[in-house]
Amino acid sequence: MHAVVCVKQVPEQNSVKINSDTTIDASGITPIINLFDEYAIEEALQWAEKNDGKVTVISLGPDDATDSLKKALAMGANEAILINDDSLGQVGAQGAAKVVAAAIQKLGDVNIVFCGKQSTDDETGQFGPALARFLGWPQLTYVFKVHELTDSQIVVDRALEDTLETVEASLPVVITAVKDLNEPRYPSLLKIRKVSKQPIPTWTLSDLGLSADSLGGTINIAKRTPPPPRPSGEILSGDVQTQVKELVQKLIESQIL
């Protein structure tokens, strides 16, 4: 079994600050592995350990995305590849999926790809399905539990809005992971030592036989509107008995009580 995990480096949510002109303040952003991708890494590692397989993590991003790849290596992944090219700065989910699909085809012997169900920055949820389309493989989205995974077959539970669906598929396949699929492990402190010195190969578009024109349209953010400020609260006046009476009344009116 050769599993690929697609890892996106995203800003930690509470580290993102919006400037007064609604642009994003890039200073002070803490980069982390996309939450859902951590579950994907853990699941791939567990099944690779059971099946004596191999895990390769791939990230498309700037040079500092190697931090996330090194974390995945310290968790136990065998290989890591960074895809970085000047023309990929504004690439959308579809274009990114096309590039990563080319990388997976270049690896050749991959029979399963694990992705997070979406990224916590763009939140399009398109990457996994688009990747499956470019690879021409079946896709199993919203995977909540993997029951069985062999070199030829997979059985999973998909967590849909109002139902849990058990699905069987033949490999190769793309799966997207939901939260709580497992409990992601911490990077091993022993592996950190080795990984720090491990060079991570960088592939460019030309390494993948692609050109910037072949990636389709880009998506630009035309406008960003911050959520409306929270309305100020109401302070009740009068003696305690009146205040409590009024408070209870308001809670009943708001259907909280």
Binding site: K71, A74, Y186, P187, S188, L189, L190, I192, K197
Partner: protein, 393 residues
């Protein structure tokens, strides 16, 4: 006279390596997620859950500085110090038991043990199968550890120990205890040896865990030895080397305690900053008043200075250079700076600071030990001044 490793002879590079930064970040994430949420309960129940040790073992923390072949992760002394700081920032009790396990209970075997002893005792400790302990202090011999009374006499192929130990971190729950004992009374300090005693050896009994002011989750025991018999090969190093061995062990231990002090101090400082921004008095956040903001500035300055001292001592250790003086200075300064930081955190919180509802009183109770354990401030000042003045009396 010992010459101080003066800063102008030091190579100055304040940049942590990529590996050290990565390790620090990993331990920080682990500690914030796994240790900090349990810290209050660990203090109140006076117990660290087994699951904590299992998770720390799985992450590779329990043998952090030891060689891979003995189940360790083989990191340098700087990384090990950073790890202790991060653990202490989240939970003081866990940090103390951890520092005692690595620095006192396990490292003497890595430093002075035979291959067989390393396989038998270091490997299970480093891989986190059990905690380790070091029995040095006695009811009548704390700072004056040369006055050890516990004795070990040779009978055939065995050592037979009699006596008692006091304030031994982890002892009752440890897989092995390294105990110092007099093997030749006529030789004074040169007649003290260190002997490894596996848990469960008949004749070794523990008191109930001590009720302490702080670090309550880290269990501390009195031990009595009543004709405790261990095989002759459990002697650590050579007979009569125990005193010199533990001086070396304590040098390393002091880096750990210094790092632990910084972690607790940083926790207190972070809590102070959050509260000083939030709490209002006379229409302004209290941090806007100089009486409060000066306390925060002093905390930051002193803790930063303490970290430089601790990391310098760790760096010297990594370089294989002498670091006794520097470790003593680091532990002395860091423990006292941390106590001031935790004390002032309570002051900033006012009445809330005195309540166990907020963590700052715990930080203070926890850090209070650190000017006492592994060399009191008084003994450390003696170590430092003797390095400068020589022994005058």
């Amino acid at each position: 006279m010992i010459v101080l490793n003066t800063p102008w002879r030091m190579y100055m590079d304040f940049q942590l390596t990529e590996e050290q930064q990565f390790l620090r970040q990993t331990v920080r994430e682990f500690a914030e997620k796994e240790l900090a949420p349990k810290a209050k309960d660990v203090d109140e129940s006076a117990q660290i859950p087994d699951s904590t040790w299992q998770k720390m073992a799985a992450a590779g923390l329990m043998g952090l500085p030891f060689a891979e072949e003995y189940g360790g992760a083989g990191v340098d002394a700087i990384s090990a110090a950073l790890a202790v700081e991060e653990i202490a920032r989240a939970c003081g009790s866990t940090a103390l038991s951890y520092a005692a396990h690595v620095g006192l209970g396990s490292s003497p075997i890595a430093m002075f043990g035979t291959e067989e002893q390393k396989q038998r005792f270091l490997r299970p400790a480093a891989s986190g199968e059990y905690l380790a302990a070091f029995g040095l202090t006695e009811p009548h011999a704390g700072s004056d550890a040369g006055s050890t009374r516990t004795s070990a006499r040779r009978e055939g192929d065995e050592w037979v120990l009699n006596g008692s130990k006091m304030w031994i971190t982890n002892a009752g729950v440890a897989g092995h205890i390294i105990a110092t004992a007099v093997t030749d009374k006529s030789k004074g300090k040169r007649g003290i040896s260190a002997i490894i005693i596996p848990q469960g050896t008949p004749g070794m009994e523990f008191g109930k865990p001590e009720h302490k002011m702080g670090l309550r989750g880290s269990q501390t025991y009195a031990i009595t030895f009543d004709n405790v018999r261990v095989p002759a090969e459990n002697l650590l190093g050579k007979e009569g080397e125990g005193f010199v061995q533990f001086l070396k062990v304590l040098d390393g231990g002091r880096i750990s305690i210094g790092a632990m002090a910084i972690g607790l101090g940083v926790a207190a400082m972070e809590a102070s900053i959050a509260y000083a921004r939030e709490r209002e008095a006379f229409g302004k956040p209290i941090g806007a008043y100089q009486s409060i903001s000066n306390m925060v500035a002093d905390m930051a300055t002193e803790l930063d200075a303490a970290r430089l001292l601790v990391l310098r001592a760790a760096w010297l250790k990594d370089q294989g250079k002498p670091f006794t003086q520097e470790a003593a200075m680091a532990k002395l300064f860091a423990s006292e700076a941390s106590e001031r930081a935790c004390r002032n955190a309570i002051q900033i919180y006012g009445g809330y600071g005195y309540s166990s509802e907020f963590p700052v009183e715990r930080y203070y109770r926890d850090t209070r030990l650190l000017t006492i354990g592994e060399g009191t401030s008084e003994i450390l000042r003696m170590v430092i001044s003797r390095g400068l003045l020589g022994e005058l009396a």
